[in-house]
Structures are given as structure tokens and as C-alpha cells.
């Protein structure tokens, strides 16, 4: 065979490869693009491109060869890259979804091109082809000619739409209620305001009771009841049963009552006479008991 014959045979063998570059790569059966419209894009618009790649069942798409999201060039960003794999036509079908965002601000309609991207397969390669589209301006080139001023030319900012908060407001209200209730319980437990118990005022209670008794006709039973009421007040103030002999100790612990020392001693003496001495004529008339109770009641409020 001559040299020309060999060259001709080689060219014949390579012809299909030259006509169809994809088929020239082992493992890749075909690559088809599903492109968006190629006109009418403004600044900020997104383009979604799908590349369907069918490979042999034992071949794989190298994930490292996929483009990375980020800036492609100064006016184009790749926003997201998504790959889905499925079985089709006895092979492996990849769907690669690329979302681009255009930031080009043209002054007149202009053709822009998304560059091609090579992909690596297990046994071969494929190329996502370039995509050209027409980008359009969003404003007049010379707005003053149509009577626009700075005030009218700039559009007002779009109003933010209210986002529905769902159940969050109800949850907040519920949490707040629970927190308040817990705080109230805590305040009660530690006797914080308003649960700080006011100091007990036994003499005031006794003074009221005695005043009520004194209103009635003075009878022995009433007199005894008045003495008992004051005794119980002394018991409550001392936090134990107070007998006549304990008065000095009581006054030492509660100096606020010391001003009434003589009257208190007289009261206990009188009570002793009435209850234990069998005396009929009390040392201290009911009026005096009432006065003493009122004085003690005033004294205990100074605590």
C-alpha cells in the first residue's frame, strides 16, 4: 500500500470523529442541551440551563470537573450547580442543571455569551457548549429628553412584602404567659413583692375586738373576753404563751412596747386576779384595757 493510500484510509476512519465530536469519545453516547429563551434578559435575571448526558452504564461523570458556583466573569455569576443521575436507554443519564445570573447593564440590546465548559467522564470527555443570548437595557439612554428629572426617573424602592409569622406570635404569647406565671410563683416562693407578707399585727386585731366588746354593756364575760383577746395578742407577738413573769423578757425583745411597761404589768396583774385570784373587782377597768390595746396597736405599727 502506498503512503497516499494509508493516509486516505486513516482519514476515512477519522471522518465520523470529525463530524461528531461526542461520538469520538468512548463512553459518551450523547449530550443534549435544554436551553432557556435567548432574548429579553435584564440585569439580575437568571438563566437555567439543563444538560442531559447519557453515558455507558459503567462510566461516570467526574464531579470534580463540574463548574463551581461563583463568579464566571465580571458580569456573570454561576448561582447553582445540580446533578441528578438516572437510568435511561440502557445507560446512565445525568441531568446537570446550571443556573446563571446576569449582571451586565447594556446601554442597547447586546449579544452576550455564556462560555463553554468541558466535563470529564470516567473514560472520555464532553463539553457543555456556549450559549448566546440578547441582554436588553432597562432604562432610557437619555431620560432628560423625555422630560424625566432625577426625582421622577428613580423609581421608588419596592415595598417589602409582609412575611407571615405563622404560629410564632401565638407561641410568643404562650411563652410570655408561662414566664409571667413562673415569675409570680417564684416571687411567692421567695416572698418578694407583692407576696412579702406584711408583719402580723396581733395588737391591732385585739384592739378592734376589744373596741367591739367595749361597745356592749360591760359584763364579766365581756371583760374576760377582752383580757383573753389581749392575751392572745401578746402570745402572737411573743410567738409563745406569755405569762405574767415573762413580761420583762418580752419587753427586752420588743423594746417598741417598753413605753407601756407599767400598763402591761398592770394588765397581767389584773388578768391574774380575774382568772386565777378569784377577784371580782378588776384592777384595770375595761376602758383601760381598751386604751392599752390601742397604744400597743400604735406601737406595733412603728416596727
Amino acid at each position: 500500500m502506498s503512503a497516499r493510500g494509508v493516509l486516505g484510509a486513516l482519514l476515512l476512519q477519522m471522518l465520523p470523529l470529525m463530524l461528531n465530536p461526542a461520538s469520538a469519545v468512548a463512553g459518551l453516547r450523547w449530550l443534549r442541551m435544554e436551553e432557556p429563551r435567548n432574548f429579553g434578559y435584564f440585569v439580575g435575571d437568571t438563566l437555567q440551563r439543563h444538560a442531559y448526558i447519557l453515558v455507558d452504564p459503567d462510566d461516570t461523570l467526574q464531579a470534580a470537573s463540574l463548574p463551581k458556583p461563583g463568579a464566571v466573569n465580571y458580569w456573570l455569576d454561576l448561582v447553582s450547580v445540580e446533578v441528578r443521575e438516572s437510568r435511561a436507554q440502557g445507560g446512565k443519564l445525568y441531568r446537570v442543571t446550571l443556573v446563571y445570573q446576569n449582571f451586565y447593564v447594556p446601554l442597547d440590546p447586546r449579544k452576550l455569551t455564556v462560555p463553554e465548559w468541558p466535563l470529564q467522564l470516567g473514560g472520555g470527555s464532553a463539553v457543555i457548549p456556549a450559549f448566546a443570548f440578547t441582554a436588553s437595557p432597562i432604562r432610557e439612554l437619555f431620560p432628560e429628553k423625555s422630560g424625566e428629572t432625577v426625582d421622577t426617573f428613580l423609581k421608588p424602592d419596592a415595598r417589602a412584602a409582609l412575611v407571615s409569622a405563622g404560629w410564632a406570635p401565638h407561641g410568643l404569647a404562650l411563652s410570655a404567659a408561662v414566664a409571667l406565671l413562673t415569675l409570680a410563683l417564684l416571687a411567692w416562693h421567695y416572698a418578694w413583692w407583692p407576696f412579702g407578707a406584711r408583719p402580723d399585727r396581733p395588737f391591732t386585731r385585739a384592739a378592734r375586738k376589744i373596741a367591739a366588746l367595749a361597745g356592749n354593756a360591760v359584763a364579766t364575760a365581756n371583760y374576760r373576753a377582752a383580757l383573753l383577746a389581749l392575751h392572745r395578742a401578746f402570745d402572737a407577738a411573743a410567738k409563745r404563751r406569755l405569762l405574767a413573769d415573762d413580761v420583762d423578757g418580752f419587753l427586752a425583745q420588743h423594746p417598741e412596747f417598753a413605753a407601756c411597761r407599767a400598763e402591761i404589768a398592770k394588765f397581767f396583774q389584773s388578768s391574774r386576779e380575774v382568772f386565777f385570784g378569784g377577784s371580782v373587782a378588776p384592777l384595770m377597768p375595761l376602758d383601760a384595757v381598751e386604751t392599752l390595746a390601742a397604744q400597743l396597736s400604735a406601737a406595733e405599727r412603728t416596727r
Binding site: 383580757l227 383573753l228 392575751h231 392572745r232 402570745d235 409563745r240 404563751r241 405569762l243 405574767a244 413573769d245 388578768s271 391574774r272 382568772f275 386565777f276 385570784g277 378569784g278
Partner: protein, 346 residues
């Protein structure tokens, strides 16, 4: 009041006897320092004609106190030491061999002084056996004894006993019946006052108990009159209706502390007391309280009088639940002070 007293039913001059009682206390106070309360209680027991059990550590002056009391009281005085081999007959009979070699039986310590015996002092009573305690039961309750085929009566007898509360080896706990017959159980502690302690340590007067007691004078003119005085006091001093109710509430509260709202930290007051005070105990309490009122110059018992003697008269008659019995010494003071802090008077 003094005028009424001098015309007592038995012709007993109670006002004069009150002066005697105060002199008695003052005289005892010369020999026994820092024990005013013990002296007061002992005086109350003597005028209430009740037997006394003294409890205290060794060397706090129990024996000296009783010897001094016997000295100031006058009358005859006998003592015996409790030992583990002491038998009842040893109290009554004294047996020995005479010079002629023949056995002799003569009256023992209780009988030796005849029926005039004023104070019988039983030292370390818990070292004696229960048989001896039984003999004491009759001697204390009835003041009689059978010996030499006849009955002896001791109308003026007071039994004073002591025991130390530290040692438990070779001792016999007094039966409840015997303890119930003592009017009071008085605890004697070492005086806390530093000045008194200094005197007791450095004043040589207190180092010789014999001379100390010997220096005291007899202040009670005739101890045989004390029985009559005691009766006159009990008749003369009254208890009003309110006080009777108060005493009844105390009696109930000491048996059922839980029902009366008495709470003691860490104890179940519902089940604390297993048996309360006996009726004899309560009558002793009133007897002692009347004497306290009389010593204070009153003819009516007041709640303070009950409180003054309650612990000594009642504490040993109250029986706690067995699981608390070992802690009696710490529980009883709390229970009784709570009792008086809780039960309303009047």
C-alpha cells in the same frame, strides 16, 4: 392576806413559816453556791412533804446539799449507801456477833432513830437491787415498815435519794412505780457562773464538807410541825377554775402533744409519748405548785407556779416511745418548754 394566814385552820401561822422557809433557803445558800433553783425546789419539796431524787454528776455537791438540808431542818438523819449486795433486811436489821460471841440483831439504819426519823438519805440508789427499791415503795408511800413483829410509822420522814447519771454498769434502773413516788427528780449541774466556780475552787471553806455543814444553824424550830404546815398550805392556797382548766389542758397536752400543736424538730409528736403523767403525778404537781405560790406570798396558784415545778415533778413520770427513750435527756426539756409555749393560759 397575812391576817388571814395567821388564823389558819390548824392554828398554823403560815406567814411566820414562810419566813422560816426563806431563812432555810438563805442558810442553805451559804453552803451551796450557785444552786438557788435547786435549793428553791428542795424547799418546795420539804414543805410539800414529798420525797426527792437528786440526779447529777459525781462531785457536784448532792450529798453536801442533803446533809446541809438535814442540818438546817433538824431532826434525826440517817443515810445508807446503795451497793449491789445490799438486801432489804440490811436497811431494817443490823446483825453482828456480840462480845460474848452470841449473834445479835439490832435495828438497822431505818429503825435506829425510831419514829422520829426526819430524813433518810439513800446514796447511789440505782446501785441497790430491785428488792430494796420495793421496800422503799412502802416506806415512801405509806411511811410505815414492819419489823420485829410490829409496824413502825414514820410520820415525819422524807426520803432523799441520789444517783449519778454517768455510770450504767452494775446499776438497776428504778422501777416506774418507785420513781412515781418521788415528788421531784432534781438534776444538779456544775454551776456555770465563773465567780461561783472560782469560789468553789479556791475558797477553803468549801473544801471540808463536814465543817461547812457543821457551820450551818438549824432554822426550822421543830421539824415535826412541818406535816401540819404542809397540810395548812394545801388548804390555804386555792386553785381557781381557770387554773384547773389550764392544768387539765397541760395534762392532756403532755400525753398527746400532737393534738395540741406541739412540734419538736425531727420527732413525730403524734407518737412521741407512750404513757402520760399519772393522776398521782398531777396531784403532786398541784401540791408543789401550791407551795410555790405560798412561798411567793400568794393564796392562789397561777400558771407560773405550775411552770416552775413542772419539769422536776412531771418529767420522770412521762414515758416516751421506746425508740426515743434513749434520747430522753435531750427530748424532755424541749417537750416541756414547748408545752408551756403552746398551751394557752388563761
Amino acid at each position: 392576806m397575812a391576817g388571814e394566814e395567821s388564823a389558819g385552820e390548824d392554828g398554823v401561822d403560815l406567814a411566820a413559816w414562810r419566813d422560816v422557809a426563806r431563812q432555810f433557803e438563805a442558810e442553805l445558800g451559804k453552803a451551796i453556791l450557785g444552786q438557788q433553783r435547786v435549793i428553791r425546789l428542795l424547799t418546795v419539796a420539804i414543805f410539800a412533804r414529798g420525797h426527792v431524787l437528786l440526779e447529777g454528776d459525781v462531785g457536784v455537791g448532792k450529798t453536801t446539799l442533803l446533809r446541809a438540808a438535814a442540818r438546817c431542818l433538824g431532826g434525826s438523819y440517817e443515810r445508807i449507801e446503795g451497793t449491789i449486795d445490799l438486801m432489804p433486811a440490811d436497811l431494817v436489821y443490823y446483825t453482828f456477833l456480840g462480845e460474848d460471841g452470841r449473834p445479835r440483831v439490832e435495828p438497822g439504819p431505818v429503825l435506829r432513830r425510831g419514829e422520829d426519823l426526819a430524813i433518810f438519805f439513800f446514796n447511789e440508789i440505782n446501785r441497790a437491787r430491785p428488792q430494796v427499791h420495793s421496800l422503799l415503795l412502802r416506806l415512801m408511800a405509806e411511811r410505815t415498815l414492819s419489823a420485829f413483829n410490829r409496824d413502825y410509822a414514820f410520820p415525819h420522814l422524807l426520803v432523799f435519794a441520789d444517783r449519778n447519771r454517768i455510770e450504767r454498769e452494775e446499776t438497776f434502773e428504778l422501777p416506774a412505780a418507785a420513781r412515781d413516788r418521788f415528788l421531784m427528780e432534781i438534776a444538779i449541774d456544775t454551776p456555770a457562773d465563773p465567780e461561783v466556780r472560782r469560789c468553789l475552787m479556791f475558797d477553803t471553806r468549801f473544801h471540808d464538807a463536814d465543817r461547812l455543814v457543821g457551820a450551818l444553824r438549824q432554822v426550822v424550830p421543830d421539824h415535826r410541825a412541818l406535816d401540819g404546815v404542809g397540810r395548812a398550805i394545801q388548804q390555804h392556797v386555792g386553785a381557781s377554775e381557770a387554773l384547773q382548766h389550764y392544768a387539765l389542758r397541760l395534762w392532756d397536752a403532755v400525753r398527746y402533744p400532737g393534738r395540741h400543736g406541739i412540734t419538736l424538730a425531727g420527732l413525730d409528736s403524734e407518737h412521741l409519748v407512750e404513757a402520760g403523767a399519772s393522776p398521782r403525778g398531777m396531784s403532786f404537781l398541784l401540791r408543789a405548785a401550791r407551795v410555790v405560790a405560798w412561798l411567793d406570798g400568794r393564796d392562789k396558784v397561777v400558771p407560773e407556779d405550775l411552770r416552775e415545778v413542772f419539769f422536776e415533778v412531771m418529767a420522770h413520770r412521762i414515758f416516751l416511745d421506746p425508740i426515743h427513750e434513749m434520747r430522753r435527756a435531750e427530748i424532755m426539756p424541749g417537750l416541756i418548754s414547748q408545752l408551756f409555749e403552746t398551751v394557752p393560759a388563761p
